[in-house]
Amino acid sequence: MNKKLLALAAGLCLTSTVQAETPSLEQLWQLVKDQQAEIEALKSQIKDNDIKTEATISAVEQFTVTPVKTSKTKIGGYGEVHYNNLENDNATGTIDAVDFHRFVMFTGHQFTDNIRFFSELELEHSIAGEGKAGEIELEQAYIEWDATENLSAKAGLFLMPVGILNETHEPETFYGTERNNVEKNIIPATWWEAGGAVSGELLQGLSFDVAAHSGLYIAEGKYKPRDGRQKVGKAKADNMAFTGRLKYTAIPGLELAASVQYQADVRQGEGASIDGTLFETHVAWQADDFQLRALYAQWEFDEVLNATKAGASEQNGFYIEPSYRLSENFGLFARYSHWDNTAGAQVDSKISQIDLGVNYWLHRNVVFKFDYQNQDAPNGNGYDGINMGVGYSF
């Protein structure tokens, strides 16, 4: 009996314990509400943390991450070393020389987003001074101002907007160790003057340049435009010159351009006046790995110049240069050039040249060059042989 009573008491105790541990519906509802509030609080805390994290990262980025930006003052440069081994056709002259042809430093400064300065200082042939092979030349130094979003003006000393190489001549941008003879002897590249210029875009892909600037001074006894470059060193300025260029670049890979220049007197007031007009046109076309460059340039001077050199009133030349990029690093080219600084003469005075060669780009800004030239000139004075070089820019 006692055992039964004991068992009953234990059973009642257990039931009452279980009943005490089971929450009521109201208690359960309260529990859910409490937990929900806690979840909301945690979510809010996470959101707050996200906001704080974002603010912290943004603050860190503000101090450590500059947008892509460079210093307002920049330097750059390019250079090229050449080796020439040439002999003329009648074996009376040879060129066997190594030459640090050009060592150039660029300095530029961006005053504001629309006003900048740019300069190019060049040491030619490694050593300069009286009786030395080279010279130090200031080839560019100008202030450029973007007057509007489609019109820029510049003043100072700048490269003439003529030809392919005159404005863009870093060694890795062209084929051949030496710059081509047509632009060198007819235009004459590299050519800079002092003055003012305006550039802009007439239509999409059609741009123009107009410039008024100092001109050539072809002294008595001289007749080649190249001899007339004054390089803006106490240059005679009796007569200014005017240059205009139209350039079409709307199609990717294609550049078509034409330039004209007029100078009322290339003798700069000395003796009989000689006016001169330069016309130049070119195409540069790249389609995949194939590239073609072709250029024609001519000077027409007053016939008074013929008294200095027969036929010098007309000077002209052209070249055509197909090339093929075999790989990212390796390209082949061929060039046929023809130029004549006395094209108005009755006698044949033209010089023609065939170049064949390779460029090897060790880096896209570092190039090794090797080429063979075969030149035909009057009186067997054309030089044949090899040229090689290395060039860089940065």
């Binding site: 450590t64 900048r116 979003e149 107009v210 240059t243 670049t249 550049e255 790249q286």
Partner: protein, 183 residues
């Protein structure tokens, strides 16, 4: 004065006059804002901006593509399904070019120059030029698998656009990789 000289002077004078009356062709400036580019890319939908964290591995490859240091902790982008849009900047010659790139299924579907600040080389903004990037993907050597015809005298601007196109393709691949890993 020769007839040719008169012609030369006439041409130079005509160019000067034309410059004064030329229509407002925007050769430099901001062509489209970033938000407009994103809205246009995903219209009518508008995905939230996300961020790709630049882990050491991602940063290393990005620096290899750009050939310079990549600052920052993360890169913002927008993504919807398999299409992502990136707004990135790279220096042309002296000034940053802001470029929008849309990548779909690891191929470029659009390159758009949003802002151009250089005084030369602005031809990269022409639709005829940027259309060349459509369909391009990134090779393991960090180059695009399509040939891009350049612009004479604007090599640096062309290189800048090429680099940004490659970088957007790489970033897109990382976003896709991370999404696969998460799922």
């Amino acid at each position: 004065m020769h007839n040719s000289s008169l012609k030369a002077l006439s041409i130079v004078g005509a160019l000067l006059i034309a410059s004064l009356f030329s229509p407002a062709v925007l050769s430099k400036g901001v062509y489209q804002s970033g938000p407009e580019f994103i809205a246009q890319t995903f219209a009518p939908q508008q995905p939230q901006a996300k961020a790709l964290w630049l882990t050491p591995e991602i940063r290393q490859r990005a620096e290899s593509i750009l050939d310079r240091q990549v600052p920052g902790l993360r890169v913002r982008y927008h993504i919807l399904d398999n299409k992502s849009a990136w707004i990135l900047e790279e220096i042309g010659k002296e000034m940053p070019i802001t470029i929008g790139v849309v990548v779909t299924d690891h191929k470029i579907t659009e390159v758009k120059i949003l802002a151009y600040r250089e005084s030369r080389g602005g031809e990269v903004r022409y639709p005829a030029y940027t259309a060349q990037y459509r369909g391009a993907s990134l090779q393991s050597n960090n180059r695009l698998d399509q040939s891009i015809d350049g612009i004479t005298g604007a090599t640096l601007s062309v290189w800048a656009v090429n680099k940004v196109a490659g970088l957007a393709l790489y970033y897109h691949s990382q976003v896709v990789e991370q999404a696969v890993a998460t799922n």
